[in-house]
């Protein structure tokens, strides 16, 4: 997609989001969560660029969410909790990354899956600390010391998510265009050759991993602050699958894809669940199947009229 088309699409998207949030107040919550999830998926996209599918990325979102839930009673300030959650997830990403970037393909995916399942069961089993599957309620938070009324609070969270989404999308664009970002695609095509060129492939991947974990943490924090309730389900492997789902649904070729995908995903989910309560998963699965079979470029691919192109290709 050309630069201008992408900028135009971003502007249109922002306008559409703000208009919908204003015209349909009941969707404000859904859209905020969608933007937050899109942020998490954006991080996942960096790893996909290197051809690595993390099947446990939801653990970083869960980590960010639980950081907010645990710290909120003592520090009920949005502008402190959000960076703190992102930072903590980033540190966790560094520690886990040091271990997992040594592995590729199925082993990379499965190790991430294993670690996220470990985190999941810690959250689920240690009831005394985490309240198990009941989850933890997040108390109302202040924003820059103020205690806004509910509607203002909703708007602030929406604006925060939107601003962060735009900022990160721009950052990711610049990063992917940089030599570090280009090297990621090299890991996918032929890592050995990259090393022959003197590029430390593992460190390149580690950097991307830490970035993606940080974005995941911020996404999780936003979700916790918006939904005001966190459960271990956030870290379960199906949540990680959902993130990959959103990435492919939106299209992995552009930094806008994750947000488009997340908005579509959440809207389909909300309406499918309302229409057929027992079969919303089936409908989402059907949508996913249709996208992969008939428009492998994702929604972004359809919009830019290149539906035939495969996502995460050597763009």
């Amino acid at each position: 997609m050309s630069r201008r088309a992408e900028a135009l699409l971003a502007l249109l998207g922002v306008a559409a989001l703000i208009f919908t949030a204003w015209a349909a107040p009941w969707l404000r919550f859904v859209l905020t969560v969608a933007l937050a999830k899109g942020l998490g998926v954006l991080g996942l996209l960096l790893l996909l660029r290197a051809g690595q599918v993390s099947f446990g990325h939801a653990m970083f979102l869960a980590l960010g969410a639980y950081t907010v839930a645990f710290a909120a009673p003592s520090v009920p300030e949005t502008l402190v909790l959000l960076p703190a959650a992102a930072l903590l997830a980033g540190v966790a990403g560094l520690l886990i990354g040091l271990f997992v970037v040594r592995y590729r393909d199925i082993f990379f995916g499965m190790l991430n899956l294993a670690l996220s399942m470990v985190f999941y069961s810690v959250l689920e089993k240690f009831y005394a600390v985490t309240k198990g599957t009941d989850g933890i309620r997040v108390p109302p938070l202040t924003i820059a010391g103020l205690e806004p009324v509910r509607e203002t609070q909703e708007w602030v969270m929406f604006g925060l998510a939107l601003g962060l989404a735009l900022l990160c999308a721009l950052g990711v664009r610049a990063y992917l265009a940089s030599p570090m970002g280009q090297a990621l695609a090299g890991i996918k095509t032929r890592e050995t050759r990259l090393e022959f060129l003197g590029v430390p492939a593992r460190r390149v991947l580690l950097f991307a991993y830490v970035l993606s974990a940080t974005m995941g943490g911020a996404a999780g924090a936003l979700i916790a602050m918006t939904s005001r309730h966190v459960t271990p389900q956030l870290a379960y492997w199906t949540s990680s699958g959902e993130l990959i789902f959103i990435g492919i649904l939106g299209g992995a070729g552009s930094a806008l894809g994750p947000f488009l995908g997340a908005a579509a995903f959440e809207l389909v989910r909300v309406y499918a669940a309302a229409a057929v309560a027992d079969a919303w998963q089936m409908i989402l699965g059907g949508v996913l199947l249709a996208v992969i079979l008939f428009a492998p470029g994702g929604l972004i691919g359809i919009l830019s009229g290149r539906a035939q192109q495969r996502p995460a290709g050597r763009a």
């Binding site: 082993f107 050995t192 495969r310």
Partner: protein, 311 residues
């Protein structure tokens, strides 16, 4: 140590027996997953759904048989019938209608296709069997319990879990090893696993082999589910928890190793069941801890072969 053993010895014995029965079930699922990955190079997330649907189908057929007044032994026919039905119908259906279209695609898309199938099958299962637990244990009751001698004591344990489950798993292991190494069809499957292009160039019909392997793998998963059905109440979510566990087994064992998958199933089954009795809060974690520990030392898995790096 001696004191601890006197106190917990029986528990340890029980954990061992439980672990054996559990390992047998895990093996049935993991070996099918491994086989399918070998030929299709797709991590089949929907494999766990086949396990779950196999379990539900077998239980339903069993309940139907009981309602018809057939003897409890007919429950065994129900198990086999359920597995054959699910493997024989869903297996070819999934491979031909969906998977065949995405073989040229990227790994992540192939993985997601099976994730989509998983979501669809998961809801389908809820629509057909509901969310209330389904319970049908006549095959297990038919065999009664055995007093297993353990030191000075005996441990009562169901004969089904003691003989049938490990028996079927061992038979599967031996049968599969024989099939893959000694029969023409088996060797063709191994050939396609090793190098699909070379095998095709030698005149092997890879399309047919793929269909065959997937159906076979699906049947193994369904049989695993059918065998598990008498030992537990069937609830939504068993497919999801089964598949992640067999992922752990396959990754720990390394790819393409049947005997390795068997030993790893045993290791993980025993580890998990020890956790159930001695540290219940670790029950879910243990398989993954084993996997992480193994991959830390042996990045290609316990029995995996290091692949040469291509330039």
């Amino acid at each position: 140590m001696g004191e601890w053993f006197a106190e917990n010895g029986l528990l340890l014995g029980l954990a061992g027996l439980d672990g054996l029965a559990y390992a047998a079930l895990v093996f049935m699922v993991a070996v099918g997953l491994n086989l399918v990955f070998g030929v299709l190079r797709i991590v089949n997330v929907a494999h766990g759904s086949l396990f779950a649907i196999g379990a539900y189908t077998a239980a339903s057929i069993g309940l139907f048989f009981t309602a018809q007044g057939l003897p409890p032994a007919a429950g065994y026919a129900a198990l086999l019938l359920g597995a054959a039905l699910v493997g024989g119908v869903l297996g070819p259906l999934i491979e031909r209608v969906v998977l065949r279209r995405v073989y040229g695609y990227e790994d992540v898309l192939q993985l997601l296709v099976t994730f989509a199938l998983f979501m669809i099958l998961e809801d389908m299962q809820k629509l057909v069997w509901g969310v209330q637990p389904v319970f049908q244990d006549s095959p297990m009751k038919a065999l009664g319990t055995v007093e297993v001698p353990f030191g000075d004591d005996t441990i009562p344990f169901t004969a089904y879990q003691l003989f049938v489950l490990p028996g079927v798993a061992v038979a599967t292991l031996i049968g599969l090893a024989w099939f893959l190494r000694r029969t023409l069809t088996g060797r063709v499957i191994v050939a396609v696993t090793t190098d699909k292009e070379a095998a095709t160039a030698m005149g092997i019909d890879a399309v047919r082999v793929t269909l065959l392997t997937f159906t076979f793998g699906a049947a193994l998963a369904a049989l695993g589910g059918a065998l598990a059905s008498p030992t537990t109440s069937l609830v939504p979510g068993i497919g999801a928890s089964t598949i992640v566990l067999s992922f752990a087994v396959v990754a720990t064992a390394g790819l393409g190793q049947i005997e390795g998958a068997a030993l790893t199933s045993l290791l993980i089954g025993m580890g998990r069941s020890a956790a159930v009795y001695f540290a219940p809060e670790l029950e879910v974690v243990v398989p993954y801890l084993i996997m992480v520990a193994v991959l830390l030392v042996r990045p290609q898995g316990l029995f995996g072969v290091v692949e040469a790096r291509r330039v």
